[in-house]
Amino acid sequence: MTEIKAFTPEDLKRRRKRATVMAICLAALLVIVFITTVVKIYQAAHGVHV
């Protein structure tokens, strides 16, 4: 049977920090995609070739 080691408090702290950074990156990506969509819709509405 495989022995499963519990995370130490330091491990948990590091994982929480990494998860926060990843969440911020994903949120930034979401904002980028949203703004780009708005820009492209605006350009299409004004006849600018996208």
Binding site: V21, L29, I32, V33, T36, Q43, V48
Partner: protein, 311 residues
């Protein structure tokens, strides 16, 4: 000529997993990335046509992330030689801060993310060229050339020359003569820049068994090659003018700077071996960075001021 893969039985790569944000940032090779970003901005501004400022920003972001991905994948593959070179021994992987597998995962994620983002948000032509640039740097240069041929820098230099072309394609959706001129500027600049470095860091490359030109062909041949490539830089620097990308300000400024570059190459060629030669090499290495920055700045200033082109 080829040199077999180096074996470093006395080098151990400690397990990492403790990497901080700054360690991951170092994996992106921020200094190289800054030059990539700058030349890409020039490509974006110099390209004929219009791109929305937001899409221009996304283009530069994707190119920067692609460059960072290339840096991380390069450090993953070169962890063994980085560990024995003084200049690179403190990088995150040989220092044990990041495991090679973590760097590989980080690099692949960034590579895929930057290419897909470029394709979906800007256009697929520039995304394809960005993907090819990452492939060229990691597979052709890092894995294929660097350890096997003293011409590694000549061919591999293309990887660093693509970013302004990628940005140009983001605007025009095609590879025009103007973008090829910008590409050639960096391509012809790379060999004298890196061979000057290799001449005063020869021991480092020798310890890592990397067949840089000074270790394989000798110092006199390297000095001759630096001079030849510097001479080739003279007609190359005229190409942005001939392709209608640059005007009088660029012609005067870049012409003068290239003559100074050529003078530094002649100094290396003529310098007697020893401290004088090392000083001349360090001078050319430092000046070459300034040269690239200044020459691209001239194009940027001309385009921002909307100055007329000569052709």
């Amino acid at each position: 000529m080829s040199i077999e893969h180096a074996e470093f039985s006395d080098v151990t790569l400690p397990l990492g997993g403790q990497g901080t944000a700054s360690d991951y940032f170092a994996l992106l090779k921020p200094r190289v990335m800054s030059l990539v970003i700058f030349t890409a901005i020039v490509g974006l501004v110099a390209a004929p046509g219009h791109i929305h400022p937001w899409l221009g920003f996304i283009t530069i972001l994707c190119i920067a992330l692609g460059a960072g991905a290339s840096g991380a994948l390069n450090m993953w593959y070169e962890a063994d030689i980085d560990a024995v070179m003084k200049r690179t021994a403190k990088r995150p992987i040989p220092r044990g801060a990041i495991e090679p597998g973590e760097a590989l995962g980080f690099g692949m994620t960034l590579a895929a993310g930057s290419v897909v983002m470029m394709g979906l948000l800007v256009n697929w032509q520039s995304a394809a060229l960005l993907l090819f640039t990452i492939f060229f740097y990691v597979v052709i240069y890092t894995i294929g050339l660097k350890r096997f041929t003293p011409q590694n820098i000549v061919i591999g230099g293309a990887a660093g020359a693509f970013p302004p072309m990628v940005a140009w394609v983001a605007v025009t959706q095609s590879v025009d003569l103007g973008s090829i001129a910008l590409f050639l500027l960096i391509f012809m600049w790379t060999p004298p820049h890196f061979w000057a470095l290799a001449l005063f860091r020869e021991g480092d490359y020798e310890a890592a068994n990397i067949p840089m030109l000074p270790n394989v062909a000798g110092r006199p041949e390297t000095r001759k090659q630096i001079l030849i490539y510097s001479l080739l830089l003279v007609p190359t620097v005229a190409l942005p003018v001939l392709t209608g990308t640059a005007g009088l300000l660029y012609a005067a400024g870049a012409g003068f700077l290239t003559l100074v570059f050529l003078k530094a190459a002649v100094d290396i060629y003529r310098a007697p071996e020893g401290a004088v030669s090392d000083k001349a090499c360090k001078h050319l290495f430092g000046f070459s960075i300034y040269w690239l920055f200044a020459v691209f700045s001239l194009i940027l200033v001309e385009r921002l001021l909307n100055l007329p082109v000569l052709m």
